[in-house]
């Protein structure tokens, strides 16, 4: 089980992957909005999404888990 975490504090603007989707390493999986900028979040490794603990519009802190993948 690997995780994809938030790189910085901000608003979780768009979640681009749902449970069951496959992700590739380097693929954009979510977009944060922080400091008025769009901050793409990329997957470090490939896998299948098992869990998406945060909802769009929620505040996320640096290091918060956005996806659990396997």
């Amino acid at each position: 089980m690997a995780t994809i975490t938030s790189t910085m504090a901000g608003n979780l603007w768009k979640v681009l992957k749902n449970v069951g989707d496959t992700v590739e390493a380097g693929e954009e999986v979510a977009i944060l909005e922080s400091m008025k900028m769009e901050i793409p979040i990329e997957a470090d490794s490939a896998g299948v999404v098992k869990q998406v603990p945060k909802n769009e519009g929620e505040f996320v802190n640096e290091g918060d888990v956005l996806f659990e993948i396997e």
């Binding site: 910085m8 504090a9 900028m37 769009e38």
Partner: protein, 509 residues
């Protein structure tokens, strides 16, 4: 006993073979080369010009050269001094003569004003020799004292092939540039075994002091090499961008034009959308001249050497692709360090600003973003090399200041036609100024009001307004930037700045 010539050759051969065969074999299994082979790879023509202290400790059993090779050679035709640990001899540990040899080659480097390279692969102090090598005037502390004295006078580069443990970890810490070989190189004050004994922590060496960790988390490493060959190549590349010492400028190098030069098409219409600044740098730099420092550490800011028409330039650039290009404590720290190196060795600086400001929030305040930001401003402001600042799309808040803003005496501030400079971006500014007004308005009128105010604000921070007020010196089309930089850096070459009459600054850290 008087030795014959035959004895001499035999002794010399023994010394040059290093430690026992089994240690050579175990090193080879880890992808580690013998110290003399490393030096042959690093130096021009595969050869050491001369070596000092080869017979150090030759009367002792099993301590050839006392575990370190010191001497001189050339890189790109220029003289360098080196010290190189031999990890086949007592794991490269330091005895009294090891330390004395290192100190002497440093003193040679100082007298000759030549760069000093440290090829480190050492388990640390030889405990059995501690009284002779640790506490005294010419003990190991003197190596670091010399490094500090030499810092800024001559380039000091560390190639870390194995461990640099405990006190030994300060050799890389005092070098300008640290290359670490993945899996083999490590830096730590106390080994994992010691950490478990003393503080009860269970941790692997890789996690606590490995090359990847230091190059991406702690910032102690500048370049992560996949193997020793890449490490040596990186050291030779780095030397291309450096002068011999602080009294000279880097040599002009051969160059080819960038294959792709279109900068305009890289810039998104939406100010808040990310783009890849690394690609933009490649399109204004000479082909294949980009050499990044700390690529994996604080990647929201890029620090790199490039050449522009053969001239070495240090680039500090926000990377909107990572964390929106926002400045953090680590990115400020990274920038400060890089600018100090460039200023020390007469390398002009190019700032490519695309920055929404410094990060805010509890996390970064607790991490000391204010003092780290101050460190960046201090290093930038006191750099007397030519400085050109380019506002690519935006420079908001203290981000403008940190990227060599107009108040900090850059040689010029250039801007692309779409650029904006302000205390904060339009969205935040309208909220800050009109929060009460917006709240009072009926809900269906709010949107229109906000839009109108944002538009007004945007016009006020427009680049032509700023140029009219002479805040920026010139508006440049993105595709003309390279040629503008070539012309300006050439003219700024003879810049002279007089320093204030004082001993030193009390710099933020």
């Amino acid at each position: 006993m008087v030795k014959t010539k035959k004895d001499h050759l035999a002794i010399q051969q023994t010394v040059e073979e290093g430690g026992a065969t089994k240690y050579h074999e175990s090193n080879r299994a880890k992808g580690k080369k013998f110290v003399r082979d490393r030096l042959a790879d690093l130096l021009d023509d595969g050869s050491i010009t001369f070596e000092d202290g080869k017979f150090a400790n030759n009367l002792a059993e099993g301590l050839p050269a006392d575990g370190v090779v010191t001497g001189m050679g050339t890189i790109h035709g220029e003289s360098v001094c080196f010290m190189a640990n031999d990890s086949t001899v007592k794991a490269g540990s330091w005895g009294a003569r090891t330390v004395e040899k290192i100190i002497r080659i440093q003193e040679t480097a100082e007298r000759l004003n030549t760069p000093m390279l440290y090829l480190v692969d050492s388990a640390g102090a030889r405990i059995t020799d501690q009284i002779d090598m640790f506490p005294g005037r010419r003990g190991a502390g003197r190596i670091f004292h010399n490094q500090i004295r030499l810092s800024g006078q001559i380039p000091q580069i560390c190639l870390l092939f194995g461990p640099s443990a405990a006190g030994g970890a300060y050799i890389p810490a005092f070098c300008d540039f640290v290359i670490m070989v993945d899996q083999n190189a490590s830096m730590y004050l106390g080994s994992p075994r010691m950490a478990e004994m003393v503080i009860g922590e269970k941790v692997s060496l890789e996690e606590m002091g490995g090359a990847k960790m230091h190059c991406s988390v702690s910032g102690c490493g500048d370049y992560l090499a996949q193997d020793e060959d890449e490490a040596i190549l990186a050291a030779r590349q780095y030397m291309r961008y450096m002068p011999k010492n602080c009294h000279e400028k880097p040599a002009m190098v051969d160059y080819t034009l960038p294959a792709e030069q279109d900068v305009q098409s890289l810039l998104p219409n939406n100010q808040n959308a990310p783009f890849d600044m690394r690609v933009m740098i490649k399109r204004i730099a000479d082909e294949d001249s980009l050499f990044e420092v700390k690529e994996r550490f604080a990647p929201e800011l890029l620090t790199a050497f490039i050449t522009i028409e053969g001239r070495v330039v240090g680039v500090v650039a926000n990377q909107p692709k990572v964390k929106g290009g926002v400045l953090f404590h680590d990115s400020a720290d990274k920038a400060a360090r890089f600018m100090t190196i460039c200023d020390a060795y007469n390398i002009p600086l190019l700032f490519l600003a695309d920055v929404p400001g410094f990060m805010i929030g509890t996390h970064v305040e607790r991490a000391g973003i204010i003092r780290h930001g101050a460190k960046m401003l201090s290093a930038m402001s006191s750099a007397t090399v030519p400085r050109i600042s380019v506002i690519v799309r935006k420079a908001y808040g203290a981000g403008l200041y940190a990227m060599s803003g107009p108040a900090f005496e850059p040689d010029c501030t250039l801007a692309f036609p779409e650029a904006q400079i302000a205390v904060m971006g339009p969205e935040a500014a309208v909220n800050a100024v009109y929060a009460n007004k917006i709240a009072e308005l009926p809900e269906d009128e709010r949107q229109a009001f906000v839009q109108e105010k944002r538009k007004e604000y945007q016009e006020n921070i427009d680049v032509y307004r700023l140029a009219s007020e002479m805040i920026i010196d010139e508006i440049i089309k993105p595709n003309e930037l390279r040629n503008e930089l070539i012309r300006r850096f050439k003219q700024y070459e003879n810049k002279k700045v007089s320093l204030p009459n004082k001993k030193r600054s009390v710099t933020p850290v």
